[in-house]
Symmetry: C2
Subunit: 401 residues, 2 copies
């Protein structure tokens, strides 16, 4: 029983808020705050007849620490669940510190200008959070998030030591368009054009963009091409999983998707440099977004499933052992339940769970924590209850080395 202040009102926040309202026993009250208060109001209006959770709304600029402090002082929440932009993690952490309020987020801080995903900025708050006696839970989405919980769970119940982790993120959803993006295509471009990296024997190994491609036969989905990418949870898992020798992250991309993206990049349509068109400066990427299907139109038409999970290789009682823990999520079922497809759903549900566990004191400790540092069992239990049931395979297909 507690009160959460949720900052942000986009796709992931919408799922988390739906889930809080399904869990009124824990979330007796929530306040939804975002720059555009009308979005918060609309969600409140849709949900308040369906739930015992009391819903209030507020307008806030998440870049403004003083405004955030005033809001927290006014709302007096037990926890702040940050579902705003990753650029805004630090201002919200500052406001929580000033008001001694617990903090939960789903994606690590990245400076707006460098797009470097690293935990160092948020880990720098450890001592101050300890001294303030409050908890910050970092990365309570799916990946990072559930992948860390799966790792802690595997270590607790299946292994004496885990030596290899392969994190596999497969989105086999099909929206029926030859090409469309769920969000800003610039972020997609950056993802596929950035160097990859993985952790091995105590150091980072860098790869060329999309250099390492594997085919994996995903349970309930089938064989898909996947590519090794850098991903933020590797950084914390490398520190928190004893005995670890290698961690890799793979994400699936379809050939057609990559082909379209590269062609658009080739001709300059993904450029963020404005061109002069009939006397007006237009950014090609912005025009492309206007030509592409509206991302909000994809939800109702996306069919198929996601499969996200981790393959662990390690030792138990002196013997080698492999475990695959994964969740399969259906785009259409998610849409029917909360009006969002599986990409937002799989991030929004763990955000609610993380906030719940910190709020009710199950996960609590002064300082800044990554998710795998807490006892995974209550989180794993909540995943089953709140729409992201997981499976364990003890005879998984391994990803080739």
């Amino acid at each position: 029983m507690g009160k959460a202040l949720i900052i942000g009102c986009g796709g992931v926040a919408s799922v988390a808020i739906h889930k809080c309202c399904q869990n009124s026993g824990e979330f007796t009250e929530i306040c939804i705050a975002s720059r555009t208060v009308a979005k918060c109001e609309a969600l409140k209006e849709k949900l308040e007849k369906t739930t015992d959770t009391k819903i209030t709304t507020a307008q806030v600029d998440a870049n403004d620490v003083d405004a955030l402090i005033r809001l927290i002082q006014e709302v007096k929440p037990d926890v702040v669940l940050n579902l705003a932009l990753p650029y805004q993690d630090l201002t919200i952490m500052d406001a929580c510190l000033a008001t001694k309020t617990h903090y939960i987020d789903t994606a690590n801080y990245e400076p707006e200008d460098t797009a470097k995903f690293e935990y160092k900025w948020q880990w720098a708050y450890r001592k101050r959070y300890e001294e303030a006696g409050i908890t910050a839970l970092l990365g309570s989405g799916f990946d990072p998030g559930v992948t860390g919980v799966f790792s802690a769970y595997a270590l607790k119940h299946y292994f004496d030591e885990i030596n290899y982790i392969d994190i596999l993120d497969c989105n086999a959803g099909d929206h029926g368009y030859p090409f469309a993006t769920n969000f800003n295509p610039e972020i997609n471009i950056r993802e596929v054009s950035a160097k990859g990296s993985y952790w091995e024997d105590g150091r980072w190994v860098e790869t060329e963009p999309m250099e390492i491609k594997k085919v994996y036969d995903f349970p309930e989905v089938g064989p898909k091409d996947m590519y090794l990418l850098h991903h933020e949870e590797i950084e914390s898992l490398a520190l928190n999983i004893p005995g670890i020798r290698r961690i890799r992250f793979f994400m699936t991309f379809g050939q057609s998707y990559l082909n379209h993206l590269r062609c658009l990049e080739d001709v300059g349509m993904t450029s963020i440099e404005p061109i002069l068109y009939e006397g007006k400066e237009i950014v090609p990427l912005q025009f492309l977004k206007a030509v592409l299907p509206d991302p909000s139109s994809l939800g109702p038409r996306t069919k198929g499933k996601t499969n996200i999970g981790c393959i662990f290789r390690g030792k138990k009682d002196g013997k080698e052992k492999n475990i695959y823990i994964y969740n399969v999520c259906d785009h259409q079922e998610c849409y029917r339940e909360v009006g969002s497809q599986a990409v937002a759903y799989t991030t929004g549900v763990p955000a609610m769970i993380g906030a719940m566990l910190v709020m009710n004191g199950t996960w609590r400790g002064p300082g800044v924590y990554n998710i795998e540092e807490f006892d995974p069992d209550p989180f794993m239990d909540a995943l089953n209850r709140f729409g992201l049931p997981w499976k364990v395979s003890e005879t998984p297909e391994l990803v080739e080395d």
Copy 2:
């Protein structure tokens, strides 16, 4: 020795005008007329110090028959060389008829709204041109144009009858961009998305777009993918080459070019339906053209060769016989000579030659003629003299059936 009025001042016209100026013994005077007289002036200024040909310029709207008649009456040319847009063939033919002036063009009339390439509209002028005692020479470019001359030449010197013609148009030029077009990408799109067709046993056979693909090892160029397309000269050759059983036309397209074109089409960037962007209607195709490299920037950087020609299969003295007549043209050499690459060069040179042969009376006869109806020998001779030397192979690789 005569005077030509050249209507149009684009890439092909620029080549033809350069070539007239290299041939001052025939073209003692030319008048360059276009909608934008500044382009004509610029060309005049560049060329007049290099040539004995007297150059004048004029402004004219080629859609306006009365304006054309006034211009012809004022300039008093021996011939009108039409290098304007294909939509404008009929207005210029009308003006030539009214002023009893010989007419030459390079591409057959197409109504602006239907994009149907057919000779019927221009052939309908036959009787009127006969009665006026003037000559219209249709299609004096390369294809149509030189391909018809090659056909007449093969028939005259190598065959008793020609049964099969395969016209092969290969552009192996590389401008170094992942994707760029020499002209309006809309025309490219239309070309690759239109149904193909060929002539066989007295009738048209239609194919799906890009359905028939062959690989051909072009002399001096190497193996290239080529696709069967409809092309206008098939229509006249089918009538003018006795004994013909089949005529096909193939054009090379690179995989990367086709792939980019299809991706752009997929996402809607080649659409001619305007979208609303920041309160302004913008046609995606027009915006794409603004993002793509300026076609005029391609000339200096295009490397490689074109190879355009015809493979003839027929009989001579009762025996089967195969002949391949082709021209190879180097983009860089063309650019050094006239400031245009080979695509414009291979059309502009035959335009000048056709105008010359009609003007000096070598090719003359009241009526409307396709190029293969005249004696090919003087044209073949002029090709060698004016930069498009041709070769004959008596042991060509055949295109598979």
